[in-house]
């Protein structure tokens, strides 16, 4: 995966989201050791301090836990925590953006819901 270096999102947030995705995908399971700041720095070609900031966000949210001298590990209910966080924050924000854009385009509520339904059906059909 490449980071979106010019993007709106700070790199350390992209790092923490990437790690969350790795946990959601099952690439890292409970109590498994996650990448160190130096491995992340090497993988993404970024300063180790930036990578550490990405890790620390997840440690603060208790998605990761620290073992002194050993590194950071995945918390047992990390997956559930990520899912509920993304639902309450990321998804809500995206929905708000959709609603604002719909208002701008004078798309009615029913029309918008219809568009969402179609998208869901199309994906189910794939």
């Amino acid at each position: 995966m490449a980071l979106n270096l010019d993007g709106a999102k700070p790199i350390y947030l992209q790092i923490s989201e990437w790690l969350e995705n790795e946990i959601l995908n099952g690439h890292f399971v409970s109590d498994q050791k996650i990448y160190s700041q130096y491995q992340l720095a090497d993988i993404f070609n970024i300063n180790p301090a930036t990578a550490a900031k990405g890790l620390n966000i997840l440690a603060e949210e208790q998605i990761l836990y620290k073992k002194r001298g050993l590194g950071m590990f995945v918390t047992s209910n990390a997956k559930e925590m990520i899912v509920s966080k993304r639902k309450n924050q990321t998804l809500k924000r995206l929905v708000q953006e959709i609603v604002i854009e719909a208002e701008r385009l004078k798309v009615s509520k029913d029309e918008l819901i219809e568009m969402i339904n179609i998208t869901i059906m199309r994906r189910a059909g794939e």
Binding site: D6, A8, N47, P48, A49, T50
Partner: protein
């Protein structure tokens, strides 16, 4: 522990002050980007840190020593710039051998591998190299010396894009393996910012900003939208940059001291909030007028 401490550093050349009451602290094991316009005092600062020049007034310590004419400092610091005075009678291989005898941590193998990778020839002479190849050779010296403090002044002058990319990668990899204090001056902030931990922005011999790159990215915010709406939100703030774009559209950069609730209101007012890239921000902060080059062409 701070590796470098400067307090009220001033360096005058004739009537002009290249450094003017400059103070800062550089922490150990960090990569700091030294950014500023031409003539901001970057090279003078690096020369004083390396002990090449003595300040006019003020104090500086490097590894707790005064750097000027100090052997400890010169053994622990390498200053790489495009006017390195390398012996013209020695070929590149011989120069590397001399370097190896001077710098205690010199990594012979790394020097050799980089030397081969960039297709330099041991029998070549430094003065016979192109501008880009000179910079490449300097970079190899700077990395292989592995001194506790490494200063790169515009290291990528003349390098093509591929070599620049390789250099940044090599610098990062060697830093990860052997953490040390590195200062990198550059005009290409957009190219180096991901490598950096801190940015030190200089203007007219003074320090304008010194903060982590991640903080700098959130330090300012761009607001874009209808002029009236944007003006409403920026009227009591210091405008860092503003530009009129299109019909009744304004883009304004201000300090990002909005609360989350305020940002929400801004968005609902139909104003886009955009991140300001570090390199744009540094240009805005160090430009002499608020408008920039466009003002030159705006008569009346």
């Amino acid at each position: 522990m701070s590796v470098i401490e400067c307090k009220g550093l001033t360096k005058a050349f004739g009537g002009t002050k290249a450094l003017d009451n400059f103070s800062c602290k550089i922490e150990g094991n960090t990569i700091t980007g030294l950014i500023g316009r031409n003539g901001a005092g970057k090279t003078t600062l690096l020369k004083i840190i390396a002990g090449y020049l003595q300040q006019t007034t003020g104090e500086i310590t490097v590894f707790s020593e005064r750097p000027f004419n100090d052997l400890t400092v010169s053994a622990n610091v390498i200053f790489v710039h495009d006017q390195l005075n390398l012996p013209t009678a020695l070929n590149l291989k011989e120069i590397l051998d001399v370097m190896a005898s001077f710098y205690q941590n010199w990594d012979r193998e790394l020097a050799q591998r980089l030397f081969d990778y960039f297709s330099l020839h041991p029998m070549q002479y430094y003065n016979g190299l192109s501008k880009g190849m000179k910079s490449t050779f300097n970079m190899i010296v700077g990395l292989a010396a592995r001194t506790p403090l490494t200063l790169f002044d515009e290291p990528t002058t003349g390098m093509d894009a591929a070599v620049r990319k390789d250099f940044y990668r090599a610098l990062l990899k060697d830093y990860i393996a052997y953490p040390r204090t590195i200062i990198l001056s550059s005009h290409h902030l957009d190219e180096i910012e991901d490598l950096l931990e801190d940015i030190l922005l200089m203007q007219r011999g003074q320090m304008l900003l010194h903060m982590s790159v991640t903080d700098l990215k959130e330090w300012a915010v761009g607001l874009e939208g209808r002029t009236v709406a944007v003006k409403e939100w920026t009227k009591n703030r210091e405008v860092i940059f503003s530009k009129n774009g299109g019909l009744d559209q304004t883009y304004v950069v201000v300090r990002n001291d909005f609360t989350a609730a305020e940002l929400q209101k801004v968005k609902l007012a139909g104003i886009k909030t955009l991140p300001v890239s570090s390199s744009d921000l540094c240009v805005y902060l160090t430009s002499k007028t608020k408008g920039g080059i466009d003002d030159v062409f705006n008569k009346g």
